[in-house]
């Protein structure tokens, strides 16, 4: 499926600024880093989580633990999706009881991914709070979920796709809005 690129929403500087602002907001909201764990959702959320942790370290001088979740096994649509998802391990310190978790993902859309991630976290333990940070909120929620930290709000139509490219995997830092080809 070839996507037609319509516009660049964020360039490298835009992404950097968003990460920096989100990091400041996380620190302010939680009054420092005590008990904080940044948890990225595979795959793009993983890289954003490391960037936020790095940024928090620059600001506060302190290191925040990072965990990675693979939510494939918690998905509610495994039998419906056309593509078999690639299953990978989660990599997280399971002792999250009492911790302040900041979940990180690239795009907030229906909210179902976040629902899976929260189910999984709660199977590991009882965090004192779960917050959500996303680079892009594109709307169209199907569940009562909202983000605490948003890089950029982008109103979209269902015919559009948000492509987040990060240099760790895509060789470039850029967020595009694209259009699905008409059938």
């Amino acid at each position: 499926m070839a996507l037609k690129k319509k516009a660049i929403i964020l360039d490298k500087d835009g992404i950097d600024r968003a990460i920096k602002r989100i990091s400041h907001e996380i620190l302010e909201n939680n009054k420092g880093i005590k008990g904080l764990v940044i948890v990225g959702i595979r795959s793009r959320g993983e890289y954003l989580a490391y960037r936020i942790a790095e940024s928090i370290k620059k600001i506060s001088g302190k290191k925040v633990p990072v965990g990675i979740l693979d939510i494939t096994l918690y998905r509610d649509d495994l039998t419906e999706i056309a593509e078999q998802p690639i299953l990978k391990e989660s990599n997280i310190d399971y002792n999250i009881t009492g911790k302040k978790i900041v979940l990180v993902d690239d795009v907030l859309f229906t909210g179902r991914t976040i629902r899976c991630a929260m189910d999984q976290l709660i199977d590991f333990g009882r965090p004192s709070v779960i917050q959500l940070a996303v680079l892009i909120d594109r709307g169209h929620r199907e569940l009562p979920i909202r983000a605490d930290y948003v890089g950029k709000n982008v109103p979209t139509s269902l015919n559009e796709v948000i492509e987040v490219k990060l240099k760790e995997v895509d060789k470039i830092d850029e967020v595009d809005i694209c259009e699905k080809p008409k059938k």
């Binding site: 495994l78 078999q84 299953l87 199977d123 995997v169």
Partner: protein, 316 residues
């Protein structure tokens, strides 16, 4: 990173044997098993993936570890499990198995895990029903999940399979484990040697691309790993070996024999072990042995298999 490694999709309804899988399909199962092993390390060793699905363990032959391993694998994935265990003597091959399978299908079972004394029974069952069939050992034919866990354990230990020298030592003639091992390891690029008393080497086995020897020291000498099979005296009608003591003397793996092997040789055994027959207790419990790791990995591998057949994408 390996993020883009698995570009293939699992399209098979069943797992009948490694003979019928491509190298890529075997690797897909192994990569998934790696992720499922992580689930086994969690404080809550359960994921909701197969919630609402039901797995039937249909065992026509006695088995402890394979059945328990499949049952645990299904439960770790939140599937419901029923166990149907029959004495092999009370069962006839053919319609009875097919009828049982059709009844399980009518009972809305999703996956049948079948162990049967006749080679090809799972394949026959698979043709008769639309639900998934997983072979848990059929006659002298195949035991695919055992070979997958052997391969998984060795890959975990040594980082790769391609180019390794692997010797399978013991009762090759009566062993479905040996056959599945040969298919799996050779497809992944290992060089396989089989070693057994002459009467326990089946005719035509060399056609599978293996080296044959009856000299156990020769089999051990250059091997990166040995998979030692249980001597199945209960099946040995030809009396290939007069006694267990004699077998141990000629073929048993001992510390003394391993002194002449590679320093970091890996010793595997599918269990149950006859200590003092196929190998000495010192070897079984020694630092080269990965036997208990195989048991743990067996759950992860079977979780991967159940997951993949449950979510297979039909070839259209």
């Amino acid at each position: 990173m390996s993020a883009t490694k698995n570009t293939i999709t699992w399209t098979k309804k069943d797992l009948l044997g490694l003979e019928y899988l491509s190298k890529e399909e075997i690797e897909l199962i192994l990569d998934h098993a790696k992720s499922f092993k992580e689930v086994l390390l969690r404080p809550l060793r359960k994921v909701p993936t197969l919630r609402g699905k039901t797995v039937a363990n249909l065992f026509y032959e006695p088995s402890t570890r394979t059945r328990i391993s499949f049952e645990l694998a299904a439960k770790r994935l939140s599937a419901d499990v029923i166990n149907i265990v029959k004495e092999s003597s009370s069962i006839q091959k053919g319609e009875t198995l097919i009828d049982t399978g059709r009844n399980l299908e009518a009972l809305k079972i999703d996956i049948i895990v079948v162990r049967h004394g006749s080679s090809g029974a799972p394949a026959a069952l698979s043709r008769a029903v639309d639900i998934s069939v997983v072979n848990a050992g059929d006659g002298w034919h195949e035991h695919p999940t055992q070979a997958l866990l052997d391969i998984f354990t060795l890959r975990e230990k040594l980082g790769k399979i391609n180019g390794l020298k692997i010797s399978i030592i013991g009762d090759i003639a009566h062993s479905r484990v040996a056959r599945s091992n040969i298919w799996g390891f050779t497809k992944l690029g290992a060089k396989v040697t089989v070693c057994a008393p002459k009467k326990l080497i089946p005719k035509g086995i060399e056609k599978l691309g293996v080296k044959i020897t009856s000299d156990v020291d020769d089999a051990i000498k250059d091997a990166d790993a040995i998979n030692v099979l249980r001597m199945q005296f209960e099946r040995d009608e030809k009396a290939a070996f007069p006694s267990k003591i004699q077998y141990f003397k000629n073929f048993g793996i001992t510390e003394e024999r391993l002194k002449r092997a590679k320093k970091d040789i890996v010793v595997m055994h599918p269990g149950p072990i006859n200590r003092g027959v196929e190998m000495s207790a010192e070897v079984a419990d020694g630092s080269k042995s990965v036997i208990l790791k195989q048991v743990t990995n067996g759950i992860a591998v079977r979780m991967a298999v159940l997951y993949l057949v449950a979510h297979h994408k039909r070839n259209i």
